[in-house]
Amino acid sequence: MSFLKLENVVAGYEKKHPILTGFNLTIAQGELVSLLGPSGCGKTTTLRTVAGFLQATEGRILIGGQDYTRRPPHKRNIGLVFQNYALFPHLNVFRNVAFGLRMRRRPRAEIRERVLTALERVGMAGFEERLPAQLSGGQQQRVALARAIVIEPDLLLLDEPLSNLDAKLRVEMRAELRRLQKDLGITMLYVTHDQAEALSLSDRIVVMNSGQIEQIGVPREIYNRPQTAFVARFMGFDNHFAAQVSAHKGERVTVQAGALTLEATYGGTETLRVGETVDVFFRPTQARLPHQDGPNTIPATFEFLTFQGDTVQYFVETALGRFNVITPEELASTDTLHVSIAPERLIVIPHEGTTHV
């Protein structure tokens, strides 16, 4: 069932150059969907349009079947959580969380009960009297979360909510956010540029680039089967070379790259033509050194390495270009090297600009 639906939405800051040009997205009730992409890709624009701070100049926004396109932002019942927390500096924690309920003119006793429950949920019980300036970043974000969920919003929008926290806390908060979302069954639209965050939190990920959706899928699909070169690069498929299709059957594709014949995987829906040029991608962590191993082996010569603690990153030169490969152990010898990649880890993507019928 679609709960939030964006239909051909056109929106942006300058009328002549909208950022979203006919944007379509459907989210089910209780789903957590991430908008993932680099800065400037239109993910925050999408969020602001759903929140009502940006007016869609064309298209429709539906929530629960109702048309929200022209509804002013303060009548949308949508919770918002910001990267910089955006707590009211002059109000204590209790009054920050109570703000939405006071705007809704709820009775005092009810406000008190609901605020305390919300604070309890985010682990901030006992902090009611503190001012935001007296809290750490993580604590402020918990309060901001309580403030957003206490109004029981139809939809919760989160704009890079964990980006200002340190790495360890970020990982902790991810899990907590996910648990809270499951417990409350709340529908969330989550904006992030952090791949790991999107992968660990989301039911589905929408990868965006220049205001367009590159790919929508569950985290495993996005991670393992990118369908465009942009998604592949963004999701960490750092190694890339061009090849020609020599055979194609279902997911399995045989490609010719120079003198090498390689077995690769294709996740797209369009049929590939024999002889067409494709881009082939693989991850540094999903290739192996140094021996011949399996069907796809590429002879390589050692260039240099960087030691990274848990892993070692090797840069090697091959007939197909320079690759980097991350291995758990440092190699005993780098005299004769081969880069080996399992066929299901070698991803074929149609070359950009190639049209398919």
């Binding site: 910001f82 809704r104 403030r147």
Partner: protein, 260 residues
């Protein structure tokens, strides 16, 4: 921290002398007993302070100045807050030009020409002198209030307004509930600055004062033309002390000087 050399202390001393010297001279001279202004005085007395309070025209002008300063500062603030908000939060054509005008109240003396015209208007239309003064002062204070209030608005994270709106507050309501309380000290700073600017103003008042109505600085100038006794020094000392006390007490309540 780097250690300061003797040269920097010398510079500091010169700067202080330059800034505070005139005040010290006036302050000391106001306690002289002789009929002519002398520094340092040969004998000491409070007689000139007594004379300030005994001179009816000073008291009257002081009252006029207070009323004009209070009224025009408040009005400039009431106009300046929404103007500052619009400048900081919205984008509209002509914004850059407006910002340049408000960025430097030093440009404002150009307004004197306009106010000279207002004077003409006052004469022709028979507008009361107090009204003319009030309008003129409001006009010169407006850029100050806009500038100071914009400063504190720029320091306020716009997303807290978005947060308030998402929680169900209308734009107006979120302005009242979230923006105003957080720019309180900026507003107070703007008021003090505007008040002092109005209170000390000479050029605008010079054009707009009329028969029977004079502001204190103008009254002081007129007095000085015919009398060379230390009354003016005593009055200046009183004004300096008053200003310092007001700013000090405000400073203690709110961190006002950070906004000026």
């Amino acid at each position: 921290m780097k250690k300061r050399g003797p040269f920097s202390y010398l510079t500091l001393a010169l700067a202080l002398l330059f800034l505070l010297g005139p005040f010290v001279v006036i302050f000391v001279a106001s306690f002289g007993e002789k009929r002519t202004l002398a520094f340092p005085p040969e004998s000491w007395s409070l007689v000139w302070f007594e004379k300030v309070f005994a001179t009816h025209s000073f008291l009257e002008a002081f009252q006029t100045s207070l009323v004009i300063a209070a009224e025009s500062s408040l009005t400039a603030l009431l106009l300046g807050i929404p103007a500052a908000y619009a400048l900081v939060r919205f984008k509209f054509p002509g914004q850059n030009a407006l910002e340049i005008v408000f960025a430097s109240p030093a440009i404002v003396p150009g307004l004197v020409v306009g106010l000279a015209l207002l004077r003409y208007f006052v004469l022709v239309s028979g507008l009361p002198v107090m009204t003319g003064l009030y309008l003129g002062h409001t006009a010169i204070l407006f850029p100050y209030t806009v500038r100071v209030v914009s400063g504190s608005l720029r320091n306020l994270d716009p997303s807290i307004e978005a947060a308030a709106v998402s929680l169900g507050a209308s734009r107006l309501r979120s302005f009242m509930a979230v923006v105003l309380p957080n720019i309180r000290s900026g507003i107070l700073a703007a008021f003090i600055l505007a008040f002092i600017t109005s209170f000390n103003n000479v050029p605008i008042s010079l054009f707009l004062t009329g028969p029977g109505v004079t502001t204190l600085p103008i009254r002081m100038m007129l007095y000085w033309e015919y009398n060379f006794d230390p009354t003016i020094a005593a009055l200046s000392t009183l004004l300096i002390v008053m200003t310092v006390l007001v700013v000090q007490s405000m400073e203690r309540v709110l961190n006002v000087s950070a906004h000026m």
